[in-house]
Amino acid sequence: MKKKQSVSPPRIPAWILSWLLPQYDRQYLRGDFDEICSFGYEDKGRLSADIWYWKQVVVSLPQILIHPFIWSVIMFKNYLKMNLRNLKKHKGYSFLNIAGMSVGLACFILVLLFVRYEFRYEKHHVNAERIYRLIVEQNLGGGVFQAASSPVPLEETLAHDLPEVEEFNRFTQQAGYWSHMRPTTFMKMK
């Protein structure tokens, strides 16, 4: 009997429990668990008392994990309510605030869409960084005009004279859609 009393409760669950218990009553509660466990050693044997101790930890874990989440949801609901009441109380200020924010956000989104579109333009081609578009600068009567259209024979001339030009292609807008302009077509047109 005396030997049984000297058996101490399992260490690991005791340590975990002491970590989970409320701070101000920790010592007393640890004592209570140890006491119940030591009575368990005498009544039901070592194994079932140890299992009981472990069970205390396992059973209390879900609640302890869920608890902070539940409280944060409750606090969030409270914040929401407070903010809504504030908006109602200061109507003019709220209007200015929300209107300014929405205009700013709308501008930001429009600018973002525009910039994204401009940067993505024609980027879907393989080797997009090696494709160039020919632009012609014309000096007409002292003024400089830029035009995307260029004389038809210019491509062939460039491809012939400059080794950097690997391939070239022409296209034109006909009846509202862009069509590929084959040399044969060009010949016919000529």
Partner: protein, 108 residues
């Protein structure tokens, strides 16, 4: 007093009152098991005791540590005057509620 104690709080307050000087958590739990016939978890009893102490119906005192408790002190609970008033009030309400109904309940 417009808010009454719950059934569980009332039961535990009564058990503490019944135990007198030795109402530690372990003793309260044993007594509850003895009276109700089923097991009460440590957390269930402790939370209720703690709440009753916060409400002012119980006061606590720290006892001697013992080897059985792993060298930790024990906390005893006592019913305060306020707690006794509350128990009397609850008893009065219960008696009023049960007035003349005991015969009907026994028939079923």
């Amino acid at each position: 007093m417009n808010k009454y104690l719950t059934r569980k709080e009332e039961m535990i307050l009564l058990v503490v009152f019944r135990l007198g000087d030795v109402a530690s958590l372990v003793k309260v739990r044993e007594e509850l098991k003895h009276i109700t016939g089923h097991r009460w978890s440590v957390g269930n009893v402790y939370v209720t005791l703690d709440r009753l102490a916060r409400l002012g119906f119980l006061q606590t005192s720290v006892g001697e540590p013992s080897a059985r408790r792993g060298g930790k002190a024990v906390k005893y609970y006592f019913v305060t005057a306020q707690g006794k008033e509350e128990l009397v009030e609850l008893k009065r309400v219960h008696d009023r509620l049960w007035e003349g109904l005991l015969g009907f309940a026994a028939e079923d």
